[in-house]
């Protein structure tokens, strides 16, 4: 049972119009007399805030409906229809997308406000906000898209904005290269997505290529095609959500401004893959073998990224690997068909990771673009608000109760255990400890101990209120968001899971309370150990170590970037060179060359007849005429 709601189309439209207006203003005025930052800032915040209010409207609209009718649709127009393929520019708001909508618009608005402070005095202020609004619009299309193709519009749109914003400081070649890398790696994923959509269409798309029709027809998928669709779509998810083997772009993406890292590369865009798998839960739930691939890729990514995170020294890279690692958790959750747990982790992660990034942004802002944690220290007293909010974020990320991350992560680990995947659970618990370790390593090095760079320390100061207020709001969210999905063991009733139930296909296994308690204690214990080690090692004035052995390999990220470079990038360029230097001039053209060579040789042969003396030509004439006469006389007789 679905209801129509024509205002759904407006939600992405507001930021898109904002992007258009700001972009045009910036484009026309930036060369001669740039407009004021206040104007751009105000214009930029209108769209996201309006979308947030509409998201609230959607939420309450849905809440007012009976649980099995919670589906708002709006088909704006027929996008394209060819043969059996009918693609509407359609939007769908159900509990799943409304949850995504709420936090995307909420955190998006906050980060827009924060950026007004962070980006102050940037010469391309207007451009930045045009891109940010464009991003938010695309993200909302992704979330609200009523079918896979519309989702793909947003999917590519956020990829484009990600590219534009990573290479925002485009005078520096490295930044642009990072942007290119992000775009290209995402495109590899998109290939999977497009092929997945194609196979899905030919299998069950003839009855309508939107989620509701697909869901109705999903039962007729054969196992082979179903698994193929799941895996192909998951390739897309790997690209967007930075999973093995396509995770390499996300750490490099930190080249963009920090608010971008917070919004795009932590809170929203990178979780699109998880959202997509949850969206397609009506297929994934039927094919557990594909789900197992998802889960194992996820948990191994979590482990790998956590290992890398332990050795990084760039504050943003630490957070980037932590994001990759947390995304791995989410995939582990959706892989074991615990969709609501995965989405809940997306939700809480958005808060605490955005918080941590914005906090890191404040630190970077205060230290004049210093990002090396071994050049920081003792900032606790200089930047109290940043310190306390980041501490809350760190506690949430580490999974310390009662902060939000604890509940969502524990739900994932418990789901893995309850569904009988002990291996995934075990690695998950291990990663939880590592997460706690590297998070607090960062907190201790940045805020505790003595300053390692006295000059920078002296100039450091708390950033303006426009930046700290979003921090505080996010900190509240990071601290208490977990309450929304309190498990029964704490007297709650898994509100979020129940809210999501109509959207996703999942089963809640019943396991004894004791097992749940035991699992919880195990992860709390591991987290405590992680924090304790970090405290011991870094709380009081540690110096930058020289990495050797495994640590060195970990610091260099197992040389994956170098291997990829040699294996793919250089091969690709090599092919290009070989083709244009050797094949194209020498081989491909050979059939043409052979023909012209033949003509040339024949010409040379006949050239001998062309002696240049008139008399000889006269002889040719005589011979020719004689032959003709002979022939004529022969034929007459």
């Amino acid at each position: 049972m679905e209801h129509t709601a024509t205002y759904l189309g407006l939600i992405p439209l507001f930021p898109l119009i904002g992007a258009l207006v700001i972009g045009l203003l910036h484009m026309l005025t930036c060369r001669k007399n740039p407009l004021s930052e206040m104007l751009y800032g105000a214009l930029a915040c209108i769209g996201p805030v309006l979308s947030f209010f509409l998201a609230l409207v959607v939420f309450y609209h849905l809440k007012g409906l009976p649980a099995d009718e919670r589906m708002l649709t709006h088909n704006a127009y027929i996008w394209f229809a060819v043969g059996d393929l009918h693609v509407n520019m359609g939007f769908l708001a159900d509990p799943l997308s409304s949850l995504m909508l709420l936090f995307v618009t909420f955190i998006g608005s906050l980060i827009h406000i924060y950026s007004i402070g962070y980006m102050a005095k940037d010469k391309n202020f207007g451009k930045f906000f045009a891109y940010m609004n464009l991003f938010l619009g695309s993200m909302l299309i992704l979330v609200l898209g009523g079918g896979p193709v519309v989702m793909f519009v947003g999917w590519e749109g956020v990829g484009l904005c990600s590219y534009l914003l990573i290479s925002y400081y485009s005078e520096d070649t490295d930044n642009v290269l990072a942007g290119n890398k992000a775009f290209i790696v995402n495109r590899i994923g998109d290939l999977g997505f497009v092929l997945g959509m194609s196979v899905l269409f030919w299998a069950i798309g003839a009855g309508g290529f939107d989620y509701l029709s697909l869901k109705a027809n999903a039962h007729s998928l054969t196992p082979a095609i179903g698994v193929a669709v799941c895996l192909l779509l998951f390739v897309g998810a790997c690209g967007k959500s930075a999973q093995i083997p396509l995770y390499v772009w996300l750490p490099d993406a930190m080249a963009g401004p920090t608010p971008v890292s917070a919004l795009i590369h932590a809170a929203t865009m990178v979780t699109a893959g998880v959202y997509m798998v949850a969206r397609f839960s009506f297929i994934y739930a039927h094919f557990p073998s594909a789900g197992m691939v998802v889960a194992w890729v996820g948990i191994l990514t979590a482990l790998l990224a956590a290992i890398f995170g332990m050795f990084q020294k760039d504050i943003k890279k630490i957070l980037a690997y932590s994001t990759v690692s947390q995304l791995g958790y989410m995939f582990a959750a959706v892989g074991v068909t615990a969709y609501s747990a995965g989405i809940f982790h997306v939700f809480t992660h958005a808060f605490f990771k955005a918080l941590l990034f914005l906090g890191a942004g404040s630190v970077i802002y205060a230290l004049h673009h210093q990002q090396d944690i071994w050049k920081m220290g003792g900032l606790k007293d200089k930047m109290p608000r940043t310190y306390w909010t980041m501490l809350i974020g760190a506690l949430a990320l580490s999974g310390v109760p009662p902060f939000s991350g604890f509940f969502s992560k524990d739900e994932i680990l418990f789901s893995a255990l309850a569904n009988g995947h002990t291996g995934i659970w075990f690695i998950g618990v291990l990663v939880a400890g590592m997460t706690a370790y590297y998070t607090f390593r960062m907190i201790f090095l940045v805020f505790h101990g003595k300053p390692r760079d006295q000059q920078a320390f002296d100039h450091a100061h708390e950033p303006p209120a426009v930046m700290t207020i979003p921090l505080v709001i996010l900190a509240v969210g990071a601290a208490f968001a977990g309450v929304l999905n309190l498990p029964a063991i704490f007297g709650g009733s898994l509100n979020v899971s129940h809210w999501l139930a109509p959207s996703v296909v999942e089963h809640h296994p019943h396991v004894s309370v004791w097992l749940e308690l035991l699992a919880m204690l195990a992860s709390i214990g591991v987290v405590a150990v992680g924090i304790y080690i970090a405290f011991k090692k870094f709380a009081e004035g540690a110096e930058e170590p020289v990495f050797t052995g495994f640590a060195k390999v970990g610091y260099n990220k197992f040389y994956v970037d170098e291997i990829y470079n040699a294996l793919f990038v250089q091969t690709y360029k090599g092919f290009g060179s070989v083709i244009s230097r050797f094949l194209e001039p020498n081989v491909t053209d050979s059939h043409v060359r052979f023909t012209s060579w033949l003509y040339q040789k024949a010409g040379n042969a006949f050239k001998a007849l062309q002696v240049g003396y008139v008399r000889i030509y006269a002889i040719y004439m005589v011979i020719g005429l004689s032959l003709m006469s002979l022939f004529l006389s022969q034929s007459i007789n």
Partner: protein
Amino acid sequence: MFEYALSVMIFLPILAGLAMLLFPISRGASRIAGMIVSLVVLLMGIELFLGFSGTGGMQYLENRPWIESLGIRYGLGVDGISLLVLMTSAVLFPMVFSIFTTRKKGYYANLLIAQGSMIGAICATDLVLFYIFWEIMLLPIFFMIGIYGGPKRLPATLKITIYTIAGSLLMLAALVYVGVSYHNQFGAWTFDIVQLGALNLGGGFAVLAFFMFMAAFAIKIPLFPFHTWLPDAYTEAPTATTFVLSAIMAKIGVYGVIRFVVPVFEIEFARFAILFSLAGVVGMMYCGLAAIAQKDMKRMLAFSSASHMGIIAVGVFCMNVQALTGSLFQIAAHATSTGVLFLFVGLMEERMGSRDIGDLGGIAYRAPIFATFFAIAMLASVGLPGTSGFIGEFLIILGAVKFNGFIGFLAGTSLIIGVCYMLWMFQRVFFEKTNERTLQFADLKVSEVLTFLPVIVLIMAMGIFPQAFITKIEPAAQLQVAQIFPTTQSDVAETTVLTPGHTNTKN
């Protein structure tokens, strides 16, 4: 009133071009005259597009006897297959006259003749008439490259001319074979393409004739490995000619396959479709890889264009409605995006005296409007949703997956290959640091913005509201595909409607 629209659209530019050559008028006057003529053609094209009803059949028919003893007729008409090709050649020309203001009279005259003959080739429904326009089309190209081209223009001119004429002559021979076969079977002469569809060819000669036809079109498209004339010709040709070559002439090659080869050689087409789609895919990858190693922007775009033509060709050979519609749509999409990119490169060359990627950098800071326009055209060329490029590419890949999973996968890699060289070029030219050369680069003037804006808006509109175009071309594509599978297609359609639950077994 609109009875002779097509004839006017063909002969107005040709006659205007010839008149321009005969009468001694100044450069400026010839440009204005050319602009007016091309605008008239544009308006007629728009009128024609709006009046087109999308039923799948031919419209705006003109048909009168010409060489009666051989049944050759002066037959013109437009249907969904030719509509978008016709529109691109009607819509894009005024831009050229508006941007390049300082060229010689002969240059403008040749452009007009090219336009008229191309529209003629697109509208012809008689095989002989098509062949004649097809050959005339080459003449202005020959003069434009040969007279106004770059430093190495002569070898390039020779290569493109001889190469394409070689193909055309093969087609001429095959054309005679088709006509004679018809005479043998039905006892009357005709070269009308609708009537030729009734031909029942078979045996070795039919295969030979099919390959002779395909040779002509494969060279024009160009399909791997017959693309080797393209990089040289595109690079040496003056920008407007490159634009005409890539945006329209190449498309007429694809169009020719759909219009003239499929109805006559259904069996051979279906039999060798896999071979040609493979050639398309290989060409797409090959040229895409070659593009990354180019130092000259124009040459890079030339390879990129060849790469895209490969994927468009794949759509034609996949023999299903989605892929064919995708190809027809992509013809227009690619013409607008790559065509505009060539014009942009021409502008850059004119303003900075270089189009070497290594010489440039940081243009985005000097010219934000130009950079934005360029970026939009570039994104359309890599097939970003929301631009015209996505719809066609998606439909082609979708159709290719149905046709053959492996071909579908390879076709899909165009998503990755295209983006690699485009981003690499964009980085080197528009980002990074400015240098003395690019510091002088002035942003687009108001007149130039007004020239490009309609096309940029068109690129976006075709991505956001493609259905307006697809409704006009899809019925014709349906008919075309039904022609190849007269029975199977309708069977499939019935089972799909009756039992949607069992369609998956087809895969």
